[in-house]
């Protein structure tokens, strides 16, 4: 693992997120930026995937349960070579294949359509179950928002995953602490998140979502864990990398204007130069 390379790639993913949302004039930059490092790690380090053969049967699967962070998934897939980075500028445009939320029918590399919160994790559980039923050894990853886990279906899926011993499943919670209406603990607190997943019989690992050593360590431990699914609770910064978006609920679902876009790209340019 070349950490500096991963950091550079994640920074490119962030540029793609900001550019896509700017051109779309709508979308969700905050949670996309907070999850960019983990998605970069998954697609550039962890997962068995092939951009030339996006539907190969034995591939690892990823389900973006927090589907509104499609810009992060699309930017990661584009930078990984599934489709041209330039196409990110068509996000949410009429006629573009880059739909506002992940669309598996039209976007190379998208393993599951999602967007209605709480549903992606169930599909990921179904994929992990399919692997077990077929004696296949692929793994399944799903990324959830910390606001998303207010949905009851998340806990239905979690109960089932542990009951069926789906140790090929990794649930990642992007714990940036903010949802549209404010701080998650003020809106309807899901805390203690770690204890909840422990109570649901998961192997639980807490990490800093922006530290590639911790990310790497967590996914390695997940792979070694047998008999139970793993939950990685990743403490993150919403809007990470763009100064004025960091830790701001206001940037959950808003596009930057031209001036803000320039500032955001300048912030990311500075990070690039520091690497």
């Amino acid at each position: 693992m070349d950490i500096n390379n991963l950091k550079k790639t994640a920074n490119e993913v962030r540029k793609g997120i900001v550019t896509a949302v700017y051109n779309a004039k709508s979308g969700h930059p905050g949670g996309s930026l907070s999850s960019a490092d983990i998605m970069t790690y998954l697609y550039f380090e962890e997962m068995n995937i092939d951009p030339a053969d996006p539907k190969k049967a034995d591939r690892d699967r990823f389900v973006l349960s927090k589907g509104h962070c499609a810009p992060a998934l699309y930017s990661t897939l584009a930078n990984r070579g599934f489709f041209p980075v330039k196409d990110l500028e068509t996000l949410r445009h009429t006629g573009s294949y880059l739909q506002g939320h992940p669309d598996m029918k039209h976007i190379p590399g998208v393993d599951m359509s999602s967007g209605s919160l709480g549903q992606g994790i169930s599909a990921a559980v179904g994929m992990a179950l399919a692997a077990k039923l077929s004696n296949a050894d692929y793994r399944v990853y799903t990324l959830l928002g910390d606001g998303e886990i207010q949905e009851g279906q998340v806990w239905e899926a979690s109960m089932f995953a542990a009951a069926k011993k789906l140790d090929n499943l990794v649930v990642i919670v992007d714990n940036n602490g903010l949802q549209i209406d404010g701080k998650i603990e003020d809106v309807n607190s899901p805390y203690p998140i770690v204890d909840k997943f422990k109570a649901f019989n998961f192997n639980v690992i807490e990490i800093d979502a922006h530290d590639f050593n911790q990310i790497d360590d967590a996914f390695k431990k997940a792979k070694e864990t047998k008999g139970v699914p793993t939950a990685i609770i990743a403490k993150s910064i919403k809007g990470k990398g763009v100064s004025f978006m960091e830790n701001s609920a206001g940037w959950h679902g808003k596009a930057p204007n031209a001036e803000e876009y320039e500032t955001a790209m300048a912030d990311l340019k500075k990070i690039e130069e520091s690497l």
């Binding site: 699967r61 549903q119 992606g120 599909a123 179904g126 994929m127 179950l129 399919a130 039923l133 077929s134």
Partner: protein, 310 residues
């Protein structure tokens, strides 16, 4: 006429009989395997039956994931929960990505009986019909229910099949019986009026047609086992030939077969249509046969409504 059998029983038997021919078939249930009759499959193929517990929304999502990974899942629960509670999961996780998930929904309509209105789903056909790409079937007897299960497995894409709790007569055990998704079946020719029925109302409608015949009214009877896609050519032709149409279903008169037929005829062959079904109200507890009579959905009730219509 052969013995009566509930279409949920036919469903369980069909799953078991087709298991070897369809190795990717897996069956999911939500703690109702004994009632939905997927237990028949479970007993024969325990490794291919997944009980998801009492969590229907998650079950539908799991089925979506299984289908995305190449399995052919049949998910089962009562119609109320499969089509009602999990509607949005069916819409977004199955319908939108057009995944190869089959929904076997049992205990539909008022013929659920004693459990009462909370479990008597009279809205499922309406709900499922609105989802783009969804095939919606409502077989009338044992023969058709089994044929529908096989057809669903051969069809690529989401399918909803409605099954009943009440034992119903076998009416399709003829040597030339053929089942095709989207094709209605003319069970009786007639020139004065067309009766279009679905599900357990098909046998009641055949009886009602005999009563009309005795009064000198020649009624054509069509069995529509596929609500969507509707056999529009057959419906339009019959409407043009007879000039009057009656739809009969054990479902709300809002959104089901009656609405599908009216949607079709209003555009292609405006015709006066009488919709017979569950009026805009909830059901209630009682033995199924008594409820069907009380709600005017038995042969005599149908006959009386048609007499008043013509």
């Amino acid at each position: 006429m052969a013995d009566k059998i509930a279409t949920r029983e036919s469903y369980g038997n069909a799953l078991k009989e087709l298991a070897l021919d369809y190795p990717d078939l897996v069956v999911l249930d939500a703690d109702l395997a004994a009632a939905t009759k997927t237990g028949i499959f479970q007993k024969a193929y325990p490794d291919r039956h997944i009980d998801c517990g009492i969590a229907e929304c998650n079950m539908v999502g799991i089925a979506a994931g299984l289908a995305a990974a190449g399995k052919i899942p049949f998910v089962s629960s009562f119609a109320m929960f499969a089509a009602g509670r999990a509607f949005e999961q069916v819409r977004n996780s199955v319908g939108y990505p057009h995944l190869n998930v089959k929904i076997g929904a049992t205990h539909a309509g008022i013929s659920v009986g004693e459990d009462g209105a909370s479990h008597q789903c009279c809205e499922d056909l309406a709900l499922m019909r609105t989802i783009p790409g969804m095939v919606v079937m409502n077989p009338s007897d044992d023969v058709e229910a089994k044929a529908a299960v096989k057809a669903a497995l051969d069809h690529e894409g989401p399918v909803y099949i409605r099954f009943g709790r009440l034992a119903v007569p076998v009416i399709n055990d003829t040597p030339d019986y053929k089942f095709e998704i989207g094709k209605g079946v003319v069970l009786k020719e007639g020139k004065d009026i067309t009766l279009i029925a679905t599900g357990l109302e098909v046998s009641e409608t055949l009886e009602a047609a005999k009563m009309l015949e005795a009064d000198g009214v020649s009624a054509k009877v069509i069995n529509i086992h596929t609500i969507k896609p509707l056999d529009e050519d057959l419906v339009v032709k019959a409407a043009q030939e007879t000039g009057k149409v009656v739809t009969i279903e054990e479902h709300s008169i809002i959104g089901g077969l009656g609405s599908a037929v009216c949607d079709c005829l209003s555009a292609k062959a405006p015709t006066k249509v009488l919709k017979i079904g569950v009026e805009d109200r909830f059901g209630e507890s009682g033995p199924a046969v008594e409820l069907i009579k009380k709600y005017g959905l038995d042969a005599e009730g149908i006959y009386k409504k048609i007499k008043a219509f013509i």
